[in-house]
Symmetry: C2
Subunit: 359 residues, 2 copies
């Protein structure tokens, strides 16, 4: 079969060039006579890959010098627990609630016996927008989810806070440049914009590293991994290698500012198709909160039968992963960094034809 | 360069057939038009890989029906913390100390405010043997490290316990059949006998799953992952795919009983070379505790200069990873399931020539 356009929410499409490079080197990495997967995490061969990945993130994402870039495991779900474990100091913790993933983050603080303050929520309107978020000045930390895969909403600007701001950027990391003056910690699973699942990227201001108490398990302290350059124990070496290749691909595309413009273009194509459909398609998110990564939409009057038919039509045309999340139904087009304009244009064309035929 | 013989302690050699199969399918998995890395963890395509990996482990390792097979992240280091989190009930916990990894496991219990009882230790003699281990009957759990990579020691038989026995089998999982009547939980990182790093295998008796309190973070409870068939959140899908292929390879070799005989043969070749060297080579471990996975040895009188020369000679002959751990020096040949008899014979030949020339 020829290559599909993969609009899945994650794990998601990886640049073809990256896959081909990994394939060419899979059995014999750069003529070393073994796969990168087989290399010791203490070897010179792996060390170069590891450190280059960190340097590429620093360079492309413009990470300030007083932040550490860590490679952990367990995904954002593990970070929901590690954030309060490491940053809570007995005071207030504040969360903005923009959907399922925010809720899960809040729940993990609660499990640890903390009573988080929810400063804002768009639950009442079905999480169709990013609410106005105002954090207090004296919290141990404040937490937001920058992009919400299910509802297709995204912050256009991070709130300015006095307290440390923690951002779950799982679904939009590396898709635009971050204003680090507003962000004290940012985390993301790699499986949307940075490679395969199994690697978690944490970028944290060094001044926050010392908060964790000695009663926290070694593996769950950010300081452990910062002190050891993410080599305290065996890291997921192949995943980090794929992340390295993905960062090189991103650099070859002109970096994050360049990709952010393409991301805007791709999103415009889709939202324009929705907005110009005379109400045949309806975006789930309010206009001012629309995500550039996940375009969630329904067919007029939530016509489930037509939605199923459209999903089927996309599959027949070589596009996968477009079925919407069960909580909002409809369709969802995830258009992360690695989704090409071609892919989006192909989808838009089909959507327009489908609307014409089924109006 | 042609393929090296990789004697590294981990991440370590992977069967060439497995690497080639992964390579062939890396860009287009079984004609689906995408890589397995790009597939949603909720897709039928991935689901088959995931469940087949679990079934293969159950079949090959003869896991009883009342045990769950889990795929987690964070390696054995994370298990050192998760074991007491999940199994401690306020009573006694008992550990046997057979080296650095046992010590790390013990430390993580201590960090959680538990005072573990060390029922046996071979620290005094440089961890050259597995001591006689007798656990009490009323502990919440007992813990052993089945194989010790650094010192080259290994249990020949697991202790019989009344209390639940937890086995860190990171470096010898799948290398021999386990007597499950003696084991209540077993864990291992995949990167020695089961694939690349980034996947942790946990096999746990279901009756132990309910011990964990609600105050333990969701991701750190075994029950979370058992209830969700290790799909509570996005698992390390590519690593599990590689584990799947490695299990298929193991099956094609006749399964675990067959490979355990080959492992014995490989170890015999090396220990015979050491024992018949008239004292030129000295194994670190006492005879009755010798590991079939890691053969640690020195050159007579701990001649560091000659040891460096031998390591260099192995490298020149296309063998890597033989430098011993700094704490015992010398050399270490890790001969996991995927190391061929050819590889061991090549090493033995070189060792014999080297001894003749440098006696």
């Amino acid at each position: 079969m020829s290559r599909v356009y993969n609009f899945g929410a994650g794990p998601s499409t990886i640049p073809l060039e990256v896959l081909k490079e990994a394939q060419a080197n899979l059995v014999d990495f750069d003529g070393n006579g073994l796969s990168i997967m087989e290399a010791s995490h203490r070897s010179a061969m792996y060390d170069r890959v590891h450190n280059e990945a960190i340097e590429l993130i620093r360079e492309l994402y413009m990470v300030p010098d007083d932040y550490s870039v860590l490679f952990l495991q367990g995904g954002a779900s593990m970070q929901f627990a590690m954030v309060p474990m490491n940053l809570y100091m007995g005071g207030k913790v504040e969360y903005a609630d923009t959907g399922v993933w925010s809720q899960k983050a809040i729940k993990e603080a609660t499990i640890q016996g903390i009573e988080p303050t929810i400063v804002a929520s768009s639950k009442e309107n079905g999480y169709r927008n990013i609410p106005k978020v105002e954090f207090g000045d004296d919290a141990d930390y404040c937490h937001i989810t920058s992009n919400n895969t299910i509802y297709g909403t995204q912050y256009k600007e991070f709130p300015q806070t006095k307290a440390p701001l923690v951002v779950d950027a799982s679904s939009d990391i590396f898709s635009y440049l971050v204003d680090w003056s507003r962000v004290d910690m940012l985390y993301a699973g790699a499986q949307k914009n940075a490679g395969p699942s199994g690697v978690t990227i944490v970028i944290i201001k060094n001044s926050l590293l010392d908060r964790a108490k000695d009663t926290i398990p070694t593996m769950l302290r950010y300081k452990t991994h910062a002190d050891a350059n993410s080599l305290y124990n065996t890291p997921p070496t192949f995943g980090i290698y794929m992340l390295n290749l993905t960062m090189k691909w991103l650099k070859s595309k002109g970096g994050i500012e360049a990709i952010s413009k393409i991301n805007q273009q791709k999103a415009n194509l889709l939202y324009d198709a929705i907005d110009s459909s005379n109400g045949f398609y309806v975006a789930h998110a309010d206009k001012e909160s629309r995500s550039l990564m996940n375009v969630s939409f329904n067919i007029k009057d939530g016509d489930a039968e037509l939605e199923v038919k459209l999903v089927k039509a996309t599959q027949d045309a070589g596009m996968i992963g477009l079925k919407g999340h069960r909580s909002v139904g409809g369709l969802r087009a995830s258009i992360y960094n690695a989704m090409s304009i071609d892919g989006v244009e192909t989808l838009v064309e089909l959507m327009e034809d489908f609307a014409d035929q089924n109006r």
